[in-house]
Amino acid sequence: MNLTLKIWRQKSNTEKGSLETYPISDVSEDMSFLEMLDVLNEELIEKAIDPVAFDHDCREGICGMCSLYINGEAHGPDRRVTTCQLHMRKFNDGDTIFIEPFRANAFPVVKDLVVDRSAFDRIQQAGGYVSVNTSGNTQDANSIPIPKDDADTAFDAATCIGCGACVASCKNSSAMLFVSAKVSQFSLLPQGQVEAKERVINMVNKMDEEGFGNCTNTGACEVECPKGISLDNISRMNREFITANVKK
């Protein structure tokens, strides 16, 4: 395949960026999207041009490191996959592909397509944990009976890899899907219920502090989420936030 790539180039957070055009030829449809960018970068290096900076790590769709807003969608046109699992067979010969960083004030651009998603880490630090001492006295996982539905729902919420596609896709740059998944994965289980009230209040307050927008329930986040995190989590977080404040 021969493609035209329009890639956002930005030297640093303090400098202005712009879309640059790069033609690329002989792209195999079996390549992953990131492999295609690797090939482009090799060509750029040979031409003494600064390679395109982009985030990646496991390339197995589980680490949440890769991002990219491809042709107007987070992680590209495929569903339930991260950018590293997107393959070039999803594109056609002669296509023009727009590649931009995830955009949100809370995700400032570091360089080119790399954005700083540490706001998610700070939200996690505000309450995304359980204060259970597991050093040396770990209980058997089956010693506390948990309804299957709750265990399944908590597990589904825990599959959130924190990639930020929800924020990138939301017209308001809202982080509600991410935060609600992190709230739900704990609040549905007995070990997490002890700190449930403080957790939801602290995490929502931190989310607001970080400058994410308000959720307007468009549902774009759920559609674009590579892990299919459900909107139910947002409703659950709203419910928990309200009751936590009422009973405060």
Partner: protein, 226 residues
Amino acid sequence: MSKSTFYTSIGYKVLMALSGLFLMFFLLQHLVINSLSVISPDAFNEASHFMGTNPLVQFLLQPVLIFGVIFHFIMGFFLDLKNRKSRAINYAYNKPSANSSWVSRNMIISGLTVLAFLGIHFIDFWIPEINVKYIQGDMSGMHNGEFRYFHELHEKFAAVPRLVAYIIAFIFLSLHLMHGFQSSLQSVGIATSKTRLAFYKFGNIFAIIVPTGFILIALFHFITQH
């Protein structure tokens, strides 16, 4: 619940949702009373006179309603502005239609259309009503020997531009309600995967029936005098 609870992203959404649900309830009662104008002018006059002169309606429900309307619009503008500011640089190429409906993304447009309509509606009905009752001091409900209410409503819909404006406004109100109802239940935390579809269907039925009812009433008064 502390005051600061409401100054959070979820707090704002809950207030927005509750005011919206309240306005939906008001819409329904407004439609029921307006429907009487098609069935029986006398019944419509009686209901309108009651609503227009009852102290509880006038001095408790009406201020609450006006507050609800103003609050919903101001909060809507405030949140829209805040949300727009959360992304300083927009995407060069974006495809929002791939993951969300136009209606859900453009509540501000449908809301602004309804607000413009409310301006016309207040000039048409509410301001003259307040003028007659509280400035001229005529609480009789009579005008030239006739009850004001039915005649006012009937005559207003003689003009084509007004009829068209009302129809357009109610189409946008319908779009607003289609997303608004289910969104409000999500915001207050009632929606779940088991109930979401039912809420969605109920919201759509409400969003079609209520505005269509208003449109049909306006058409009835237009047709019966041409």
